[in-house]
């Protein structure tokens, strides 16, 4: 841990993407999102709305969840339009 002399003015974080160091997946409690690939239209709304780094995108396509960062907030499941009324993200009970 750094001492007080090493804190930059205004606590500004100068390292881009340093949030990746904090694995917020440990905050997840009761529920985790599940991706149902066949219902996914790859609109990437889940990626846009996710408050952390848990929706992975590769070559413009929606990829798997990275549960190291997923807090289980459920925003992605609410926002997901899915295909023909079938959600591509559902919240499931966390497996302990």
């Amino acid at each position: 841990m750094i001492g007080w002399k090493d804190i930059p003015p205004g606590m500004v974080i100068l390292e881009a993407g340093s949030a990746m160091k904090i694995k917020t997946g440990s905050w997840r409690a009761a529920y985790r999102p599940k991706w149902i690939e066949e219902n996914c239209i790859h609109c990437l709304l889940c990626w846009l709305y996710c408050p952390d780094n848990s929706v992975k995108v590769k070559d413009g396509k929606r990829g798997e969840f990275d549960y190291d960062y997923c807090k289980g907030c459920g925003i992605c499941a609410v926002e997901c339009p899915g295909k023909k009324g079938n959600k591509a993200i559902v919240m499931e009970e966390e497996v302990k």
Partner: protein, 393 residues
């Protein structure tokens, strides 16, 4: 080249803003600050400045917009009074914590309840520990001069802190006085081009403001913040020295008036210092050794220098234009007492509360205080430590 004009305090400060031309100004009107921002808004709409003026729906929003603009990398100013400053409360600490060099004239006005639009210092005193530097001004000239210096102090790379420039509502903000304007070029080159530190709009160097910092680092962050204020006095003096070169007017941490050989003294802020100096002159003519100290840099408070300037006195009255409710003493009194507490030889102290809600401070009040101090110096006895003066029974 200076120009002598007859203007109100608000007009003088608006003119300083015009000369400095901040990148962004977000403000909400409140008496007695309104005239300042109204005049500055005219400069904007007349095309005399290119400042982005953001008219917001509250002071909370005004200061929030200023925080955003300053973090983005702009030179930023706003202004307020009384309830407006109270509504900014939450954001005051954020502006200081982020080390954003925002400049804000505070046109001192009483706080509600009861609602009152006139001068006292309870607004700025309530914000004194928010981390903003505070410069206090006796008259329109000092308000103008302090505003210009405030940008240089705030933006100094050693500190980067927001600054309030305090001057008395109506008494100074709305009274016309003779003042000397510096010419535009002189002010512009004194203030210089704005140099941002960590601007968010520098997108090639991404950065984040406002992290969550918990038990593992918050204590260290606050220590680092506290240490920053130790560098402020030197910056204030350096800027004052340079300002003297362009204006011929001398500024420091405080003004000492006939204090060196004095036996009794008064400490007082802002416009009432002028009245007090007149009464001191009358008593000096009668051979009474009385002097005055008028703080200018109130935050951070120059405890050592002020303690040194006052410790030789026999009796001292601190006149507060703000009360501290809950049975405490006036805020200025507490700092003066703290500045003297470790000297073995020090004056007996009293605290008198005057002029709340714009109540006139009359020469007779100063005279009464001096008479009381003469008695305390003679007898060594303090009757009552804290009292209101100029109050009807």
């Amino acid at each position: 080249m200076t120009k002598v004009v007859a203007v109100t305090g608000n007009e003088a400060v608006a003119n300083a803003f015009r000369q400095i031309e901040p990148d962004v100004c977000a403000a909400y009107p409140i008496t007695p600050q309104t005239e300042l921002m109204q005049r500055f808004a005219s400069f904007v709409s007349n095309g005399q400045v290119k400042t982005e003026l953001i008219l917001v729906e509250s002071e909370h929003s005004a200061l929030s917009a200023c925080v955003g603009a300053a973090a983005a990398g702009g030179r930023v100013a706003t202004a307020t009074s009384s309830q407006g400053l109270a509504l900014m409360w939450e954001i005051l600490f954020i502006a200081a914590g982020f080390r954003l060099p925002i400049v804000m004239p505070v046109v001192n006005r009483a706080l509600s309840a009861p609602i009152n639009i006139h001068c006292d210092h309870s607004d700025a005193m309530g914000a004194r520990d928010s981390g903003w530097i505070q410069l206090w001004s006796e008259n329109a000239q000092e308000a103008y001069d302090n505003t210009i210096q405030a940008f240089r102090i705030a933006e100094d790379m050693d500190i980067r802190l927001p600054v309030m420039v305090c001057y008395d509502g109506f008494i100074i903000s709305h009274s016309i006085e003779r003042i000397e304007y510096l010419d535009d070029e002189t002010v512009k080159s004194f203030v210089g081009d704005y140099k941002p530190l960590f601007p968010l709009l520098d997108v090639d160097n991404p950065k984040s403001f406002g992290p969550l910092i918990l038990t593992d680092l918050y204590h260290e962050v606050r220590k680092a913040h506290s240490e920053t204020y130790k560098k402020v006095p030197q910056v204030v003096l350096r800027v004052a020295e340079e300002f003297e070169k362009i204006s011929g007017r001398k500024y420091g941490f405080f003004e000492a008036y006939r204090l060196e050989d004095a036996e009794i003294g008064i400490v007082i802020l802002n416009s009432a210092a002028g009245t007090t100096k007149d009464v001191i002159d009358e008593y000096r003519q009668r051979g009474v050794k009385v002097g005055l100290l008028k703080p200018r840099l109130f935050r951070p408070f120059p405890y050592e220098e002020i303690g040194n300037a006052l410790k030789h006195l026999k009796a001292l009255c601190v006149l507060d234009r703000a009360d501290a409710f809950g049975g405490s003493y006036g805020p200025l009194y507490l700092d003066i007492a703290a500045s003297l507490c470790n000297y073995s030889q020090k004056p007996l102290l009293i605290n008198r509360i005057y002029g709340l809600g714009g109540r006139d401070y009359m020469p007779e009040q100063a005279a009464k205080v001096i008479e009381e101090l003469m008695e305390i110096a003679k007898t060594g006895k303090v009757g009552s430590l804290k009292e209101y003066i100029g109050v009807r029974e």
